[in-house]
Amino acid sequence: MRLIKAILLRLVTTAVTLFGVALIVFFVIRVVPGNPIAMMLPPGATDADVARLTALYGLDKSIPTQFLIWSTGVLRGDFGVSITNRQPVLALVLDHLPATLELSALALFIAVFLGGTAALIGTRLRGTRVEAAIDVGNGMALSVPDFLWGLVLILLFGVLMPLFQISGRITPSLTLPFSTNFYLVESVVRLRFDLTRDLLSHMIMPAMGLAIPLAAIISQLLKQSLKEVMHLDYVALARTKGYGETHVILREALPNAVLPTLTLVGVQFTFLIGGTVIIERLFSFEGLGNMAIDAVINRDLPLIQGIVILFAVIFTAVNLLVDLCYAAFNPRLRHG
């Protein structure tokens, strides 16, 4: 009963949040100076042409009326038509979403891998110079945001040692056999590892830029959490049983230290997804974020609305997922 109530409350607050986001972005972008319709027409267009198109996009009505029309459309899955591309917003957004999802997922994977490894090494070698070095590295990585790490990576591995690609998602000259936009996943499924290689070579730098701050947070939290757990009695008891220190850390301490880290990492992961906007711009990566900035520059109101709402949906979904993971990993909740 309490569980059902909690879930209902969660759904209501989520709905309120999404509605709030929609409302704010809708009104904010209506205040944009400059008529988007005038911008999209060729220079020779007459005032009558502009008026006709403005009416076509419903931009001549009052703002509350526009919102009403738009939100009833959204509830039916119709996000309107992009002004610049003249394609349905939903289709455009879903076209670009896979690139951003793959990038975020790769970044998350790198962050968990790097951060987790650093935390475990720091715990295993606690009290040594290695631990001190890891702490300093964490502090640095945390102090500087993804945008600057992306630039540093461009300089280091794009220019100084040109190991990786620093712009685009895939080499344009390649012919792509893909039927979805999940290129990375599909290249693996189709066993086209030459394409996987090319994709990764393009993705690794932006993903690293996104991952570095998150890796530092994971490393710091997990290390702190491990430190607390390593003092507990069952860890000492495991040592008396004859287990080596590495085994003690991995088997006894780690599972109990992961849980407190998990919730915080979830929130941080939404920040990472938010960071894709500028990172995609920086690396000319054809994802949602890059398209979003183009949409703002072109005053493509329906597209902006659609993208912002989608980001908000992703954020709330991630938070929900984290809470579910927490429940799944915690034996107390699982059986309590």
Binding site: T17, I29, V144, L155, I278, V308
Partner: protein, 283 residues
Amino acid sequence: MGDGRIQVRRSAGARLWLSAGWLLFVTLIAIFAPWAAPKDPLAQDLFSGRLPPFWVQGADKTFILGTDSLGRDVLSRIIFGARIALAVALIAGTLTCLIGATLGLLAGFLRGWVDVVISRLIDIWMAFPPVLFSVLLIAVLGPGLFSIILAIVVIDWTRFARVIRAEAMGQGAMDYVAAAQVAGRSRLGTMLVEILPNVLPTIVVLLTLEMGIAVIVEAILSFVNLSISTDDPTWGGMIAEGRTSVHQAWWVLVFPLVTLFLTVLAFSQLGEGLKDRFDPVLR
């Protein structure tokens, strides 16, 4: 064990002084930019475009850190760029702090419907991708220094509100607050006299961190080319130009990037250092 702690504190002190020193240096350079800069930051000279820094062959030694594609002096542009960066950091940081901390204090201390409204607003704000939100706001407000500052305030007030709200709640539950109330102090009075001084250290730390964030946001917006008109020297604008010509003229990207990197790092380390100073557990 005792030794280790002293060492930690000493290195924390060094970190504090180093970052404060760098920021002071940047501030002085910014204030005295017209005297510090060797050239006019806006002067174009298409015949001396993309000159390398002084130690590289083919350099013109009067352009110490080289020139960009329009022949403008990189060093002078960095120096004048510091003015904009610091102005944004100072003004946007302070305003964000004032508004965010006030709302946080009100929510955390008054509770009730005030808290409900502010908390809900924070939730909604957290569901926006911040970079996209700021780009959007700049598009609405038009480019310029004022727009950047307003955008930062509108987006980042939640950073303060969230933390200060939680702290004020914690403080509000303490006995001395109840005692002040019993002694007949008004609610507003209690908030200002009893609670504010106790959350002040946190506010100072957040303010320092926020200044670093403001510098970054300004750079990002200049990078996306939505902030200040491109002629004005901004670090972000220089980086944007450097990014496009990174294979031909690395120095156009490297020097502003290093300056920006160090400044952001310094604000952040200063904030973290202050946090350790204020934290009674470590002290």
